[in-house]
Symmetry: C2
């Protein structure tokens, strides 16, 4: 699988290198059948990132290649050479690092609008593993475009810069989530966070399917699988949520909120 992954990556790189600056007569191409397109415009990038900036002249037609991933495929691998940043257009992924003695830690679960690969700029090597938990669609911002100084695409670097700052901020918040006293409280907070993110994406905040396993959640919150499972059971027993494997129903956000201390 790693071989196939490498192949698809290099293929993308090769085709994009010469076409990234190709401008298909304004935004015309971006309005065709969306699901069948393999390109995204700078406007879509702005929209995904929720960036409130204005476009400079001559950039409206800039397009970026998309990259499809099936569930289980690897998006980025620790140690691989940096070839650009990615913005999630669709799907859920899992970002993690593995230290020398095999202990893994889940940093985040990137979803629509999140930025991937920023840790690869230092030393031109990605520093974390990212795999797709569901089928995914990413938009690639090639390294060449990012650092092409001189022309007007300073804008692109600033955009990535800004988005990175946001990712940091949210990661720090998630970090503080780890420290919350009791494991049940941490799980409750995790459910709140996920619920909020689904809500922001236009899905129901009350009923959703978890894209990640209990083990992933455990590695994110620094507890064992059993503890996560027991925390779910406890929340069910108190009538705060219902659980059917990956399907979660939140019955009382208020009770969930009161649990986080």
């Amino acid at each position: 699988m790693m071989h196939a992954q490498t192949l698809s990556t290099t293929a993308t790189t090769a085709t994009t290198a010469t076409t990234a600056l190709w401008k298909p007569s304004g935004r015309h191409a971006a309005l065709k059948h969306e699901s069948d397109e393999r390109w995204s415009s700078l406007q879509e990038l702005h929209s995904l990132l929720q960036y409130e900036g204005h476009l400079q002249d001559g950039q409206e037609g800039e397009v970026f290649r998309r990259r499809r991933l099936k569930a289980g495929q690897s998006a980025l691998m620790m140690g691989q050479p940096f070839d650009g940043l990615y913005v999630v257009r669709l799907g859920t992924l899992r970002s993690s690092i593995t230290n020398a003695d095999g202990g893994m830690h889940v940093l985040s679960f990137p979803m629509k609008g999140n930025l991937l690969g920023f840790d690869g700029i230092y030393k031109y090597i990605y520093m974390s593993d990212v795999v797709a938990l569901t089928d995914c669609d990413l938009i690639r911002i090639p390294a060449a475009d990012l650092f092409a100084s001189g022309r007007g695409n300073n804008h692109l670097e600033h955009l990535a810069y800004w988005a990175s700052s946001r990712e940091i901020t949210q990661e720090q918040l998630a970090y503080s989530l780890t420290r919350s006293v009791k494991s049940e409280g941490r799980v409750a907070r995790f459910l709140q966070t996920i619920s909020q993110r689904f809500a922001d994406l236009g899905y129901s905040p009350n009923r959703f399917i978890l894209p990640m396993t209990r083990r992933d959640i455990g590695h994110h919150l620094s507890v064992t699988v059993e503890t996560v499972s027991r925390a779910f059971s406890a929340l069910v027993q108190q009538g705060i949520i219902t659980v059917d494997f990956r399907e979660i129903n939140i019955l009382s956000h208020e009770a969930l909120c009161n649990f986080e201390r």
Copy 2:
């Protein structure tokens, strides 16, 4: 104290706004009595960050204002408007976030060469508190300079971008340090990290004075003060280190290394 802090910050801002682009006949000014200078050159910034890039023409004389802090003073406050990035030139600080219910988490202990304030770019508000543990000297990169596009100072933004990526990477590593199984192992690893950083700065890796309290260490590793103290005592008892309040002597790096699992 908060009042005084605010005053000094605004004063610095006011004087810098018009002078940041002032160029004192090349690098002449930067070579006067170093300890008495209140300006740093772009070269010094590169050197501090260990950035391996080249300078563009017309940037060699660009200078940045320094900012002095006494121990205990606040460098950045959560919620304050973003006014630029800072690079540590001297001293040790403590970066932390405080969540709604008062629980604090120590993110890092910035020292010489580290970057501060990057989390403020998203929303133009700093998202963490940073206080000086010792007397400090910071170099300020004003927001105005960072985002002044059009001219050649794209370079400055790229530099900050690159440095941010490094900070992220190291923060993620520190994060995985939190997850290490036993508290003694975490403390051992923390000592190793600190030792390594002192070594990189030219100080002894074997004997040093901790700039932070046991409580700070605890809030960084997510354990209580008592646990940190007990871990120190255990390491002393096994002849791996000696401890005299803030003064640490590492007797065997190897034994310390073997402890981190």
